[in-house]
């Protein structure tokens, strides 16, 4: 069997409000987002026969099925790990539909990432670190406890080797914020950022400042995936899945994060291998991409992916970003809802929702006539990505 570009489409999108304290359980958030996605598609829970979740989600598919009132769930699965999962989650829905295991699949991510389980909070104080192939014993005792501290080492390495890294990081933060300012649903909708305020923001872990970090958020996002045939009869303009890919790279890593520091070339992420597979399946190239939602837990994560997906050469990410390409007026507008930096951190799932809006033409920072919409879900430890298109193939 070979990949069939455009065999399936995203036909519904939904999200909750994004906040610092939702006051609701992740189950309620998941149900709200999934319900909204189904309503958007003109479907009901009775049409759903599959659910795919992130492997770090606390909500199991059957729990969401019960909350939504799905009467006959016939397929479920999960993908990840963590933030490298959302595009792969859509891919799993497509695979299930193409294999005849499901017809209509809800893909969701729900978390109280600020008021509940915070990923930026660091290690517990009462247990020893490591074991179970996590290798965290080699890092956590040394004060390496958060993703920000890990990405700071990558950013410093990039600065050591290449030019304009800092200027690029600033521009990535500024572009995301500018796009959030157009999006009423973004947490930072009303807060503008200037170059001055970026550089004035508190240094957290050199060389990364507060505004190089994403927002910890509460919320959920969901999409509905079905076959292209069925999509043609539904309410919304389909966003066809031209391609989806995953990659762990030639040096797969254990653990979630820190072991990436032992990759021979630690600034070349598995997104390189994901990109090759992604563009190959679609018969497209980086030059065909009209708009991109690039996973942005930190500004440096975006900068590295600009190089990995081939939008610029190795080491040129800083220069490319600083040149202004990432704004709405540029060649590669990114994170048009504000992304994790300025909309909300829904662990890559809000990027999928926004990638669909661009194909529909309904973004609050719309790229006119966008045909090819890239969505990435970032390393470490793996990478996945989606190419959504306005035409079936």
């Amino acid at each position: 069997m070979t990949w069939r570009p455009g065999s399936c489409a995203v036909v519904g999108i939904g999200a909750t409000d994004f906040s610092k304290d939702s006051g609701r359980s992740p189950l309620t958030l998941a149900a709200q987002a999934a319900h909204a996605a189904l309503a958007d598609a003109g479907l009901t829970a009775a049409d759903v026969d599959g659910i795919v979740r992130c492997d770090m989600d606390t909500i199991y598919p059957a729990a969401l099925a019960e909350a939504l009132g799905v009467p006959d769930l016939g397929y479920w699965g999960d993908a990840g790990p963590g933030g490298s999962g959302p595009a792969a989650m859509v891919g799993q829905a497509v695979a299930a539909i193409e294999a005849g295991l499901a017809t209509t699949v809800v893909v969701f991510r729900a978390l109280n990432g600020r008021s509940g389980l915070r990923y930026g909070k660091g290690a517990a104080t009462d247990v020893r670190a490591g074991g179970e192939a996590s290798y965290e014993d080699l890092y956590l005792p040394y004060g390496m406890q958060t993703a920000g501290q890990f990405f700071a080492l990558l950013a410093q390495d990039h600065m050591n080797r290449y030019g304009k890294t800092q200027e690029g990081l600033a521009e990535i933060a500024l572009a995301c914020r500018e796009h959030a300012n157009a999006n009423p649903a973004a947490q930072f909708h009303d807060r503008t950022m200037t170059e001055e305020s970026y550089y004035a923001s508190r240094m957290l872990s050199t060389p990364l400042r507060l505004f190089d970090y994403c927002l910890e958020s509460d919320g959920a996002a969901a999409v509905v995936v079905t076959s292209a045939e069925r999509a043609a009869d539904l309410r919304q303009k389909p966003a066809y899945v031209a391609s989806v890919a995953q990659a762990a790279g030639p040096e797969p890593q254990p653990g979630l994060m820190f072991p990436m520091l032992t990759r021979t070339e630690m600034l070349t992420t598995p997104a390189v291998d994901c990109a090759r597979r992604l563009f190959g399946r679609a018969g497209l190239t980086a030059a065909d991409v009209d708009v991109a939602q690039i996973y942005d837990c930190f500004t440096i994560t975006v900068l590295l992916q600009l190089e990995d997906y081939g939008f610029c050469g190795r080491g040129e990410g800083g220069e490319f970003a600083a040149a202004g390409h990432l704004r709405l007026s540029g060649d590669l507008p990114i994170n048009t809802s504000g992304g994790h930096m300025s909309e909300a951190y829904i662990h890559g799932m809000n990027h999928v929702v926004e990638g669909v809006r661009q194909v529909r033409g309904t973004s609050t920072a719309q790229v006119p006539g966008a045909q090819v919409s890239l969505v990435t879900s970032a390393p470490p430890p793996g990478a996945s990505a989606l190419l959504l298109t306005a035409e079936a193939s």
């Binding site: 104080t125 080699l138 956590l140 005792p141 040394y142 050591n160 050199t206």
Partner: protein, 139 residues
């Protein structure tokens, strides 16, 4: 002082690393059959399929690859500022470890500058640590 995070000492993959550190030796895993060195430590050798528990001493010297000075307090046992050093072992490309020093460099750090290992005792555990061989430091 609030307690530091300490490593598990009984993980089958990494126990030998910590046991050697307790004797002030810096070691990496190597396959007993083919000699291939594995860091991160792994008992299973992908090169030849052998499972062994063999460790070799390595010189306590390396080069600085990257660093970060943490200024935002996250863990109560790690008062800020402190600096994490990512080092590569001498003559072992890609074989990297981290170390941590309280405070921050006064002399700017540079990629490739020499670093040396030292051994820090914390409760019942000894951590191999790293520091630059030259330059001023403030704590």
């Amino acid at each position: 002082m609030t307690e530091r995070v300490l490593p598990v000492l009984d993980d089958p993959e990494t126990a030998g690393f910590w046991a050697a550190a307790a004797e002030h030796r810096l070691v990496v895993r190597a396959c007993a059959a083919c000699g291939k060195e594995h860091h991160l430590p792994r008992a299973f050798c992908a090169d030849c399929g052998t499972v062994s528990d063999h460790w070799v001493d390595v010189p306590p010297r390396g080069r600085l690859v990257s660093w970060t000075t943490v200024q935002h307090q996250v863990h109560p046992g790690y008062p800020t500022p402190y600096t994490v050093l990512l080092v590569e072992l001498e003559d072992r490309p890609g074989m990297r470890m981290v170390g941590q020093l309280p405070g921050q460099p006064v002399t700017p750090l540079t990629a490739g500058q020499p670093v040396e290992a030292w051994f820090e005792h914390v409760d019942d555990t000894v951590l191999p640590q790293w520091r630059p061989t030259e330059g001023e430091w403030s704590s």
